[in-house]
Structures are given as structure tokens and as C-alpha cells.
């Protein structure tokens, strides 16, 4: 049974995206966030957590790379919503702008630019060992590490004051430009290096520069 093609699932994906964006808007309601009373907010968290995990599972399981990329967008937006619920409003914004926006555009762009349709349809590894090992790792991680998170060592959040600017741009910016100035600057250099590196690696070489590449070109 071949996995459905991307076009047939455009509808489903649209719904997922709408849900995600709607959730974002919903979660951004500051009063709701600040109130933190009752189970209402917890339910929002649960919905988006499930949505995030579902889209993540789809990302790694669909055959079509374009679909996978779109599912990943859903995951990232859902994560952004969780960020909001955790009072990381600045990061939520960054998550949507940089991750779900810029990086994913880059992904989709590359997905579309390399190969033909068949190349988007590469499935799961045929190796049995890989599958077994992968599943064993998944199950092992979940069952060994998960139980601990219920124990007392995990700190619990305290309610924030209404006037708290926790998670907003101001304290983070202050921190990044004071205590973390050096890592921040190093990171900017890293980005520059990455850009130059990416250009160097992916630039089309002229014929005489081409080393033997298996007659591919």
C-alpha cells in the first residue's frame, strides 16, 4: 500500500496548520496565560502536545518529503504554542519566525529543487537491523528515562506576578548583551561561516574543476 500523495492530503495539512495558528492566537491571550487557574490551560497544553507529537510522527513516517516538511512546520508551530504556555513569549515568536518560517522555507526550497518526484518518495530504511535498533532505542529511551520525570527532583513552576516580564524580549536581550555577549558574538560569526560554507559547498562547479564523480554529471 503506497502512501497517499501529497496533493491528496493538502486538505488535512491545511486543517493542521489552521489548528496550529488558531492555537497560537488562542494561547496568546494574555489574561488566560497569566491566570493559570484550573485545568483549562492544561487542556490547551495537552491538545498542542498531542498535535506536536502527531505531526512529528508524521514527519518521520511519510514517504513524501514535501509532506514531511509541512508536517514539521506543524510540529514547530505547536512547539511555539507550548513555548507561549510556558511564558516564553519571545522564544515563541522566534520559533515561528525563524524555525517555522525561514528554516522551513529553506527546507521546502531544497526539497523542491533536488531530484524529481521519485526522489521524494524514499521510504523507511530497508535494513531490518536498523529498524529494530531504532525501535529499541525509541522504546528504551521512553521507558527508561520517562519514569524519572514524575519524581520530586523535577522542579515545579511557581505562579508569576502579573507584572512579571519573564520570557519577554527585554530581560533576554539584556542578558544576551551583557553576560552572554561573547557566545552571542561567536554565534554571529558561526552564522557567517555557515553561510560562506553553504555557498562554497553547494555552488556549481565548472566542468574543468569537476573531479571524477562517477559520471554523474
Amino acid at each position: 500500500m503506497s502512501f497517499p500523495r501529497f496533493t491528496k492530503h493538502a486538505g488535512l495539512l491545511s486543517v493542521l496548520l489552521l489548528l496550529a495558528i488558531g492555537g497560537t492566537a488562542f494561547a496568546q491571550d494574555a489574561t488566560l496565560v497569566r491566570a493559570e487557574q484550573g485545568n483549562g490551560l492544561l487542556w490547551v497544553f495537552r491538545v498542542f502536545a498531542v498535535l506536536m507529537l502527531a505531526t512529528a510522527a508524521l514527519t518521520i513516517s511519510v514517504r513524501n518529503a514535501v509532506v514531511a516538511a509541512l508536517c514539521l512546520v506543524g510540529t514547530l508551530i505547536s512547539t511555539g504554542v507550548l513555548f507561549l504556555l510556558l511564558h516564553a513569549s519571545f522564544l515563541a515568536a522566534i520559533q515561528v519566525l525563524v524555525y517555522a518560517g525561514a528554516i522551513m522555507v529553506l527546507f521546502v526550497f531544497v526539497v523542491m529543487s533536488v531530484g524529481d518526484a521519485d526522489e521524494h518518495e524514499i521510504g523507511i530504511s530497508s535494513g531490518l537491523i536498523s529498524k529494530i535498533l531504532g525501535l529499541a532505542a525509541l522504546i528504551g529511551v521512553l521507558f527508561v528515562v520517562l519514569p524519572q520525570f514524575k519524581s520530586q527532583i523535577v522542579p515545579q513552576a511557581a505562579p508569576l506576578a502579573d507584572t512579571s516580564d519573564f520570557g519577554s524580549l527585554k530581560p533576554i536581550g539584556r542578558l544576551l548583551f551583557s553576560d552572554y555577549l561573547f557566545p552571542f558574538e561567536v554565534l554571529s560569526v558561526l552564522l557567517l561561516v555557515a553561510i560562506v560554507g553553504a555557498v562554497m559547498v553547494s555552488r556549481r562547479r565548472s566542468a574543468d574543476e569537476t573531479v571524477d564523480q562517477g559520471g554523474a554529471q
Binding site: I60, A69, L72, L86, I103, A137, A157, L190, A198
Partner: protein, 103 residues
Amino acid sequence: MIPTGDVLIVALTMFALGLLGVIIRRNILIVLMSIELMLNSVNLTLVGFARAHGGSVGTAGHGFSFLIVALAAAEAAVGLAIVVAVFRSYRTVNVNNVNLMKR
């Protein structure tokens, strides 16, 4: 209030999914996406703990997350550039066909 443990469980599950994707998928692009999933889950963990600790410690956690997002951007850029280069050489993005280490 959202229990920190729940956040961690969700994050860990996502991490495991990402790891699984890295292990079993043959499409380099989807492998890269799985790596993004793993990075994302780490970010979620950091934000969860930042919320739990609050104050300046939590702000530092946000700072870390911010740096990781930037790092992810760099990683994606270079990784995708490599994918493009590999595709140009091998005419495929199937990792099974890109096995120079085997020879």
C-alpha cells in the same frame, strides 16, 4: 500551571521520534528534518526548565534556547548545502546510495 514533568515527557518523546527518524529514514532531507525535531525537543526542555526555575536562571535558559535556534539555522543551512552537493554528485538523496565509507 503546566507540570514540568509533562513538558519533559513530551520533549523526550519528540526527541525519541527524531532519533528514530535519523536512524530509519533513507531520505537525507528527512534525516535532516529529524535532526531539527531533536533540536526542537531540546529547546522545549530548556524552556520547560526555565519556566520551572523562573527569574534570572529561567532567562538564561531562554538565552540558551535562542542560541540553539540560531545554531539550528546554521546547521540547516550547511546541511542542506551538503544535500545539494551530494545530489549533484550522485543524482540521489537516498543515503543507501551514498556510502563512500563502505568502500
